[in-house]
């Protein structure tokens, strides 16, 4: 199977530095921020962003974890239902700027589910979306606010974000289907 590397470890590091700066610029600091990562890889990217914010602003925004399984829109179909993992948002999102972090945006359906789940926790003043990769093919009117890399892909291709925490090394690759 043909595989192409879109981002290597250094590029991913620099991208996180840039995205964090953009977040701080747009929100004028980190005071009202909370960061929520979408399981599994969004969580690790979110952790890195929080670490970077802490380094720059000396503030550690609260961090949560979202498992969107129970909010999926394909549960009514004849598909394998995924295992439910725990959502952990141990703080109030009321009137906060929520930075929602996912690894890849594709159809936008995961983000739709994540937005609905966050809204069940309260009414944030905004939700802003970070994704490491935007691979196009949106099926819903949802766009990220902060993007690592935009790539044109075929639906048959697979885009994978590999991270040290889960996969042993940092890289973004595209594989022919």
């Amino acid at each position: 199977m043909a595989k192409k590397v879109l981002m290597d470890s250094e590029t991913i590091d620099r991208t996180i530095v840039r995205i964090t700066s953009e977040i701080l610029e747009k929100n004028k600091g980190a005071k009202e921020l909370v960061v929520v990562g979408v399981r599994t890889r969004g969580v690790h990217i979110a952790e890195r962003i929080v670490k970077r914010i802490n380094k720059l602003e000396k503030i550690k925004p609260p961090m949560g974890t979202l498992d969107i399984t129970l909010y999926r829109d394909d549960l009514r179909r004849k598909t394998e239902w995924p295992k439910v993992e725990r959502t952990e948002i141990p703080f109030s999102v009321e009137d906060k700027e929520v930075i929602l972090v996912d690894d890849v945006i594709y159809t936008g359906r995961t983000t739709r589910a994540a937005l609905e789940e966050i809204m069940d926790f309260g009414r944030p003043s905004s939700i802003q979306l970070v994704t490491m990769v935007d691979r196009g093919h949106r099926e819903l009117p949802i766009q990220p606010d902060y993007v690592g890399i935009v790539v044109n892909t075929l639906s048959s291709e697979k885009v994978r974000v590999h991270l040290k925490e889960t996969d042993g090394k940092d890289e973004v690759i595209v594989k022919k289907g």
């Binding site: 399984t69 129970l70 549960l75 009514r76 004849k78 239902w81 725990r86 959502t87 069940d120 926790f121």
Partner: protein, 309 residues
Amino acid sequence: MSFKHKHILGLEELTAQEITLILDTAESMKEVSERDVKKVPALRGVTVCNLFYEPSTRTRSSFEIAEKRLSADVLNFTLSHSSVTKGETLLDTARNLEAMGASVIVIRHPLSGAPWLLAKELNSSIINAGDGSHEHPSQALLDLFTIREIKGKIKGLKVVIVGDILHSRVARSNVWGLIKLGAEVRVVGPPTLIPRYIQKAKAKTYYNLEEAIEGADVVIMLRIQMERQESVYFPSLREYSRFYGLTREKLKGADKDVTVMHPGPINRGIELSSDIADDASSVILDQVSNGIAVRMAMFYLAVSAGRNQ
């Protein structure tokens, strides 16, 4: 690993991996009950019918809350209000419910095997909420969940089940579940109340409570089921209580961190002395909230398996 059972009828027919998957899923479900808005949309559009042929408050309420937290539509059928009193058979009643759109039926019935009959004849997912003196999987799963939460594991624990093992569906489901997950299970009670399946399940039988309790990590006390004592299994309640009622004194030989559990409702002074009942009640309240999470997990996994078939 995926869950293959469209029906959850008993723990005897589940594997250790399947039981563990239910417990793991329940752990994720528990978080939903801690939110301000205690509801997720997973079972939107699914109609669940609670068909109860025996009186029950806590089990039925727990199922109903679990259904509602998953956004299912809920239909309650209880003996006193239904056409059962007009002579309709179980299958006819259930077929009617299915015709009204129910795709999951939770059934409690005084006859052992009733849920299996429905599973064979209907298209719906069937969840056993207790059949006769046979199985009560949701209660055993929540006991397992609670034990795992308190002790951090189940494998290797010494678990004692005390009392009317013969008539207790909670005991039967617990014996299967605990053995499959690697616990050492000891049952203790009067010889007349120890059934034969205990040998098949490889649990150990005791007739003396102190001996059984030696080194125990968990003691599960069963309720004496006055309604099922059709013949005389022991001479008198007082005698039963003297030999098999749990007191501080009899608990001395157990592990110092022993947990005492009871499926409720407690007959104070008969199965448990009042001071132990007070200690046990804190665990009982944990069990109530864990029961909702476990039942949510059962619905999620059974409906998921049904969709895949």
